[in-house]
Amino acid sequence: MIRLTTPLTIDKVKALKAGDQVLLSGTIYTGRDAAHKRLVELVKQGKKLPFDPKDQIIYYVGPTPAKPGQVFGSGGPTTSGRMDAYAPTMLSLGLRGMIGKGYRNEAVKEAMHTYTGVYFGAIGGAGAYISQCVKQAKVIAFDDLGAEAIRELDVKDFPLTVVIDCEGNDLYEIGKKEYLGEKV
């Protein structure tokens, strides 16, 4: 088990390999389709983003509303493929990590290689469990998007798995083959 703390520098990313299990602590940002669409529009207009993506991690999540006394509602990962259209732009700005679930396309893998990024998988469906790893949460942009607003989260020991590393190794291929006893 690897313990990682944000900010996620290039050196830290280069040391990660597909299949590594990680406990992540520190500050991360949330964003789904609607927020990404706005972020990329801001970039196109040459405007400032609500946070500097350099060496940061975006978690693809839209949580349930927090109950009274709760910091963060249930919040497991959403399907990352919907962010594929925006991820290369974010990576080009220095974004170092993405957390989600599901396949990524070749353009994202290439951008991860070019700009040194990593794709982590969180366990889909483990919303209540992941909620407990979130120690602080605040909306920092696009409040009108509700669950899809950008939040700054302070997480502790968030369990993740490296799915695609910066060399392009993909656990969704490797894991299956290893289980089936095929040559990796």
């Binding site: 999540v61 927090a66 109950k67 399907t79 679930k101 366990i123 919303g127 894991g175 299956k176 083959k177």
Partner: protein
């Protein structure tokens, strides 16, 4: 004629929305525990353990198991001797969803219009409603909120009769491989065969909601349910798609007569949460 008040229906739907989102169905919970014991691949076992702990936490804290608390699909099976009083039945259903999603702290995931505006309706309405009229004076309600991680991976295909059982097997496996990690395995799978383009999708959804361990009445389809589940669990996709045996917890088939020229097949996929809860009024 038995009278049922709309306010009773609203309350029932409110409660079902919350329960279905915070508690795994008993049959799913049982098969999950069984497959956790059987799983031998280390990362798969670790993943299943976290999901098991997640379900325990959700139940204890009355929190949603998953953040995607779905679009509320409501099946109303209405006895023909039931008389619904106290206003519009449809509005009573939407009101139940509204109350459940608000008071249960569930996520509102519905947009008013699918393509141009996509503005969140902020109360998770409208629900998707299906009505069946049957004999008797009971009213059965099933609420099955559907998350879209898995819904986006469902598929339909109009096979030719000559494609036969092999064609069905091939298609089901293709759908599951396409879905892979996106559908949050371990999955719960429903296969519909027959009917028409629209009917077969509903059949597959009903198959998905049928209890784990229940079987098709025809022994040939029973055997196919078993064989397909084994094939799916031999793909190696595994929990979260990280590799392993536990790709699916169950696979049910529902069938219906069809036209001489066709053999529609649909595959509905849900994640392990398999949100559904029912009540008989």
């Amino acid at each position: 004629m038995r009278e049922i008040k709309t306010e009773v229906i609203t309350k029932a739907i409110r409660d079902l929305c919350i329960e279905a989102n915070c508690q795994l169905p008993d049959d799913i919970s049982q098969v999950f525990d069984k497959m956790l014991l059987e799983e031998t691949f280390p990362i798969a076992k670790d993943t299943l353990k976290i999901l098991s702990e997640n379900a325990r936490l959700a139940k204890e804290n009355h929190s949603p198991i998953c953040q995607d608390t779905g679009m509320a699909c409501v099946f109303m099976t209405i006895g023909q001797d039931v008389h619904i009083i106290g206003g519009s039945l449809e509005e009573a259903i939407h009101e139940g969803v509204r109350q459940g999603y608000d008071e249960g702290y569930l996520r509102k995931s519905v947009v008013s219009e699918p393509m141009f505006d996509r503005v969140n309706t902020k109360d998770n309405t409208p629900a998707l409603i299906y009505y069946d009229i049957v004999e008797g004076d009971r009213l059965d309600i099933t609420v099955a909120p559907k998350g879209f991680g898995s819904e986006n991976m469902c598929q339909i295909k109009m096979l030719k009769p000559s494609d036969g059982v092999e064609g069905v097997k091939e298609f089901v496996l293709k759908v599951i491989r396409d879905a892979g990690p996106n559908a949050c395995p371990p999955m719960v799978i429903g296969v519909g065969i027959g009917g028409s383009f629209d009917k077969v999708a509903l059949l597959s959804k009903k198959a998905m909601l049928r209890s784990v361990g229940s079987h098709h009445t025809d022994a040939r389809y029973q055997a196919l349910e078993k064989e397909l589940l084994e094939m799916v669990n031999a793909t190696g996709i595994g929990p979260a798609g990280y590799g392993g045996k536990t790709t699916a917890l169950s696979l049910n088939i529902e069938t219906y007569p069809t036209h001489i020229a066709g053999m529609p097949v649909a595959v509905s996929i849900c994640c392990h949460v398999a949100r559904h809860k029912g009540v008989s009024l």
